[in-house]
C-alpha cells in the first residue's frame, strides 16, 4: 500500500484532489517501471540490499521521482523475502559469540584476542568455511534475506491501478467518510455491510428513494478530534466500494498537520462481481456453519443474500439463512458478536417496528443485553452466547420457533 508521502495531490479551496497519472507521465514512467519489473523478475535469490541497490540505479526523470518511488513500493509489496533454508543464524551467533567471549577473557597483551582464530574454530566444528560462517552470521536480518518470489505484474497494469492506490493512501488520513452507493444486487450490498460491521466502524445507514444507500462511516473518537486512527480501515473499504455498481464518496482528510481537514471526493465503481464472490464469511460464522451442518438436524444453512429492509425504520444485513428441509420455512441469523450495544437496540427497534421476516440476532454476552428485551411473539429474537456460538442451541431455537408457528396454525 502506498504511504501518504508518496501521493501527489493538489489542494484548492479546502478540497484535495489527486494528481492523476496522465498519458505523458505514463509514457515517461513506463521505461522505469519496466526496468523495475525486470530487476525483480530476475532478482530471485538476490538479497534485499542488492535488490534495493539495483532499483536505486534505475534512471527516473527528476519530476517523476515521487511517483516512481510509489510504484517501486507497490512492486516491493508483491515480493517475498526470506533467508535460505538450512541456515540457523541465532544458533550460529550463539556458538561464535560464546567462543569469542571465552577467548577474549583469557587474552593477554602478548596473545591478544584473535578474531579469525575464533571463526576458524567454529568453521572447523561445523565442517564449513570461515566465509560461510561470516555470511550466515546475520542471514536472518531483513536486508540480507533473499528474494524468494515476485508476484509479477506488467508495467501497464501497475500504472493503471496507480490512481486507486493513491486514493487509498489519501483515505489513510481520513477522519470520516460519507458515501452514496448503488450496489449491483443485494448480495453485493450485504458483503459490503458485513465488512463495515466487522471493522467496527460506526455507520449510519439510510436508503434513498432511488434505491441507493447513504452511509456515514467514522470511528467514535471522531466526535472529539479529527482522528485518523480509523484511516487504514477506511482505506481498506475502498476496494469494496469499487466492487459496487456506482458510488460517490466524500471524505474529511487531515492532510496537513496542525491545519484544518480538507475534503476529498471520489466516484466510480465497476460492479466487479468476481471480486465479491471471493469474499469469505467471517471465521466465527464459517465455524458455526460447519458445526451446524454436522448436526444434521433437519435444517440446512447457507449464506443469506437478502437485506431485510423496513422503510422508515431501518434495515439489517443477515449473515445466514436456515431453511427447514420439509416445510421450506426460513429463519435468518445476523451475527452481531460483541460489535455494539447500539446496533442491538437498532435491531430491537426494527423488530418492534414491524420487520416481518423471522430472524435471530446472535450477540456476545459481553454486550450485556438480555434476551428478554424481545418478546417471544415477535418474529425476531436475541441469542446471547458466551465465547462461541452454539450450533446446537441455534438448532433448538429454530425447532422451537417452528413448533410455535405450527401450534399457532
Amino acid at each position: 500500500m502506498l504511504t501518504a508521502d508518496r501521493v501527489r495531490v493538489r489542494v484548492r479551496k479546502g478540497e484535495l484532489s489527486i494528481r492523476q497519472l496522465d498519458d505523458k507521465a505514463r509514457a515517461r514512467l513506463r521505461p522505469a517501471v519496466e526496468h523495475y519489473v525486470a530487476v525483480l523478475r530476475g532478482g530471485v535469490g538476490r538479497t534485499l540490499e542488492a535488490i534495493e541497490d539495483a532499483l536505486g540505479e534505475v534512471d527516473v526523470p527528476p519530476r517523476d521521482i515521487k511517483t516512481a518511488q510509489g510504484l517501486e513500493k507497490l512492486l516491493m509489496d508483491r515480493c517475498t523475502f526470506a533467508m535460505d533454508e538450512g541456515v540457523d543464524p541465532p544458533d550460529l551467533r550463539a556458538a561464535v559469540f560464546t567462543r569469542a567471549a571465552a577467548a577474549r577473557r583469557v587474552a593477554t597483551r602478548e596473545a591478544p584476542f584473535d578474531r579469525m582464530a575464533v571463526l576458524a574454530e567454529v568453521a572447523a566444528e561445523r565442517e564449513t568455511t570461515v566465509e560461510s560462517i561470516e555470511d550466515g552470521l546475520f542471514a536472518d536480518l531483513k536486508q540480507y534475506q533473499k528474494l524468494q518470489s515476485f508476484d509479477v505484474i506488467e508495467a501497464d497494469a501497475l500504472l493503471d491501478r496507480y490512481d486507486i492506490e493513491q486514493a487509498k493512501a489519501v483515505l489513510l488520513r481520513a477522519t470520516k467518510l460519507t458515501v452514496d452507493v448503488q450496489f449491483a444486487d443485494a448480495g453485493a450490498a450485504r458483503q459490503f455491510f458485513r465488512r463495515l460491521k466487522f471493522r467496527r466502524l460506526l455507520y449510519r445507514l439510510a436508503r434513498r428513494p432511488d434505491g441507493r444507500y447513504h452511509i456515514e462511516i467514522e470511528g467514535p473518537f471522531g466526535l472529539f478530534q479529527s482522528s485518523t486512527r480509523y484511516g487504514l480501515q477506511l482505506a481498506l473499504m475502498l476496494p469494496a466500494l469499487y466492487e459496487a455498481a456506482q458510488f460517490a464518496l466524500e471524505a474529511e482528510v487531515c492532510w496537513f498537520k496542525d491545519r484544518d481537514p480538507v475534503i476529498f471526493r471520489l466516484d466510480g465503481g465497476a460492479g466487479d462481481d468476481g471480486a465479491r464472490k471471493r469474499t469469505r464469511l467471517p471465521d466465527d460464522v464459517r465455524q458455526l456453519v460447519k458445526r451446524f451442518k454436522a448436526l444434521d438436524c433437519g435444517w440446512s444453512v447457507r449464506s443469506a443474500r437478502r437485506i431485510l429492509d423496513l422503510p422508515g425504520v431501518g434495515l439489517c444485513v443477515p449473515d445466514l439463512v436456515f431453511t427447514h428441509d420439509e416445510s421450506g420455512d426460513r429463519v435468518y441469523l445476523e451475527v452481531m458478536g460483541y460489535w455494539s450495544r447500539k446496533a442491538v437496540w437498532d435491531r430491537v427497534d426494527l423488530v418492534e417496528g414491524g420487520l416481518g421476516e423471522p430472524i435471530i440476532f446472535a450477540l456476545s454476552s459481553r454486550l450485556r443485553v438480555s434476551e428478554k428485551v424481545l418478546d417471544h411473539e415477535l418474529p425476531g429474537e436475541l441469542y446471547v452466547y458466551k465465547g462461541v456460538m452454539s450450533a446446537r442451541i441455534i438448532a433448538e431455537r429454530l425447532d422451537a420457533r417452528r413448533a410455535r408457528a405450527t401450534a399457532e396454525g
Partner: protein
C-alpha cells in the same frame, strides 16, 4: 436515571436529566442519541454525579478489586515511599520521576498494592513486557496477562506495549482501574496519547527518568496522566542508591585518510545545502533536505555524502581500534556498547564477535543474550537504541558510547543502564567522540544534564 457504558474507548452517558452537571469533556452524539466523552473522563463524570448525589447505573466500569496484594514486600527506599505518598495525595494520579536503577518498578508495584485495582502496565518495548511480566507474576503471585509480541491475554494484571495499547485500548480500556505508563515520555506522541484517552482507569501513574521531550509535549502528560508529583535526579541518589560512576569523554583522532574522506563528503553535503538555501537549523531543515535530495542527481549525491561522513564519525576505524583496547581492558567486566544505528551495531558485532541486540532481534534471542550477559557467558553486548531505556541489565558496569544522537534523554538513559546498585560496583561510561568533527557538538548537546556535570 443516568446510565454509563463504555464503547470503543469512549464513555456513553444516556438518560441524563440535567446535562449541565456533566463535565466539559462530554458532548452530545446524535448518532447514539446520548452524551459521549473520551473514556478518560470517567472519573470526572462519576465525581460529578456523586457530588450532586445523583443516581446512576454504571455499566462502564469493567475493572475488579484485587483480592490480594503484594506477596513479597521489602522496606521501600525513602524516595520510593515519598513518591508513593505524593502520588496518593494527588488522588492516585500523576507522574513520579526517578532515575534509571532507582526502583521505579517497585514503586509501581507499591502503587498497585495501594489501589488494589486491576492494572494495566504500558511499556515501550517487548523486553520490558517480559521484565514486567516476571516482576508482577512473582510479586503478586497471580496470573499476568500479556498483550503484544503475538500474544493476547487479558488478566487483572496485564502488561502491554504502547503499540498494542493503541490497537486494543478501545476494547480493553474499561477493564482496568489503574494504568501505569512506564517510560511515560512516549505517551504524548500523536498516536500513543489515544491510549490514555480511551482508557477509563481513574487511577494513573506515569514513570520516567527523563520526561522532557524536545517537542515540549511533555506538558500534555499533566492531563493524560496527572501532574508531576515527585522527582529525584541521578545526582541526588548517586552513591547511596545508585552505583558510583565516572564519565570519560575520549577524543579519538581520525587518520589522515578518514579525515580527508570526512571533509570531502561533508563539503559536498554543505555545498548542496547552501545551494538550495536550506537552513538546517530550522525545524523543517532536515525534512527540506530529504525532499530536495530526492529531486535531483546532485541531491542524491549530497545524501550519499551525508551518509558517508556521518558513518565516519559514527564508526571510524580509529574509533573501533580504541574499542578493541577498551574491550581488552574490561574483558572481565560486563560491557554495553551503544551505537547510533543498527548498521554500526552490526559492524561492531562482526568485528569484535560480540552479540548484538536491535529491534530485529527476536524476544527469545534477546532473553538468551541478556541472560548470557548476566551469567558471564558473554562479557559485552552491542546495541543501537533498544537498550536505551527500561531494560534491566543489573550486572553491566561499563558503557562504551561509540556514537549517538544529541538527545539528552538518550544519553542519560544509556548512563542509567550501568547505574543499578550492586555491592560496591563502580561504573564507568566512555564516550568516544571523533576529534574535530561535528560529533563534538552533538556530544556537547547530549551532555547538558546534571548527571554529566
Amino acid at each position: 436515571m443516568a446510565h454509563l457504558s463504555f464503547r470503543a474507548g469512549t464513555l456513553v452517558i444516556r438518560d441524563v436529566a440535567d446535562p449541565a452537571v456533566l463535565p466539559d469533556a462530554c458532548q452530545w452524539d446524535d448518532r447514539v442519541r446520548s452524551f459521549r466523552a473520551p473514556a478518560a473522563a470517567y472519573a470526572d463524570v462519576v465525581m460529578a454525579f456523586v457530588r450532586r448525589k445523583l443516581d446512576y447505573t454504571d455499566e462502564a466500569r469493567g475493572y475488579a478489586e484485587l483480592d490480594g496484594g503484594l506477596r513479597v514486600t521489602r522496606e521501600p527506599r525513602p524516595f520510593q515511599a515519598e513518591g508513593l505518598e505524593a502520588w496518593r495525595r494527588n488522588r492516585f494520579r500523576g507522574q513520579v520521576i526517578l532515575p534509571t536503577g532507582a526502583g521505579k518498578s517497585y514503586l509501581a508495584q507499591m502503587a498497585i498494592d495501594a489501589t488494589r485495582r486491576s492494572t494495566l502496565v504500558v511499556v515501550p518495548t517487548l523486553d520490558l513486557v517480559r521484565q514486567w511480566y516476571d516482576l508482577l507474576r512473582v510479586g503478586f503471585g497471580r496470573p499476568v496477562g500479556v498483550i503484544g509480541g503475538g500474544e493476547y491475554g487479558v488478566e487483572d494484571l496485564t502488561v502491554t506495549t504502547y503499540d498494542s495499547a493503541l490497537i486494543h485500548m478501545e476494547n480493553i480500556g474499561a477493564r482496568f482501574g489503574l494504568v501505569v505508563f512506564d517510560e511515560c515520555h512516549h505517551l504524548p506522541g500523536d498516536a500513543y496519547r489515544f491510549s490514555a484517552r480511551a482508557c477509563l482507569a481513574p487511577f494513573r501513574l506515569g514513570l520516567s527518568a527523563t520526561p522532557e521531550r524536545a517537542d515540549g509535549r511533555h506538558v500534555d502528560l499533566d492531563w493524560l496522566i496527572g501532574p508531576q508529583v515527585y522527582r529525584r535526579d541521578v545526582i541526588d541518589l548517586k552513591g547511596d542508591y545508585l552505583a558510583d560512576y565516572e564519565v570519560q569523554r575520549l577524543r579519538v583522532e581520525l587518520t589522515p585518510d578518514e579525515w580527508e574522506t570526512y571533509q570531502r563528503n561533508r563539503q559536498i553535503y554543505r555545498d548542496f545545502v547552501v545551494s538550495q538555501g536550506i537552513r538546517m537549523s530550522s525545524p523543517s531543515g532536515w525534512k527540506d533536505f530529504i525532499i530536495r535530495a530526492s529531486q535531483s542527481a546532485a541531491g542524491r549525491a549530497a545524501m550519499r555524502a551525508w551518509r558517508a561522513y556521518k558513518q565516519i564519525a559514527f564508526a571510524a576505524p580509529s574509533k573501533l581500534d580504541y574499542v578493541e583496547q577498551l574491550l581488552h581492558q574490561h574483558r572481565n567486566d560486563r560491557v554495553l556498547i551503544f551505537t547510533q544505528n543498527n548498521d554500526t551495531a552490526h559492524t561492531v558485532a562482526r568485528r569484535f564477535l560480540v552479540p548484538v541486540i536491535t529491534h530485529q532481534t527476536k524476544v527469545k534471542e534477546r532473553s538468551a543474550l541478556l541472560a548470557g550477559l548476566a551469567e558471564g557467558t558473554y562479557t559485552a553486548l552491542a546495541t543501537s537504541k533498544v537498550l536505551n531505556e527500561g531494560v534491566d541489565v543489573p550486572d553491566a558496569n561499563v558503557a562504551i558510547v561509540i556514537s549517538g544522537s544529541g538527545s539528552v534523554r538518550e544519553h542519560v538513559q544509556r548512563l542509567g543502564r550501568i547505574l543499578r546498585k550492586r555491592g560496591d560496583k563502580q561504573a564507568v561510561l566512555y564516550e568516544l567522540v571523533a576529534a574535530d568533527t561535528a560529533e563534538q557538538f552533538t556530544s556537547d548537546r547530549r551532555r547538558e544534564h546534571n548527571a554529566y556535570r
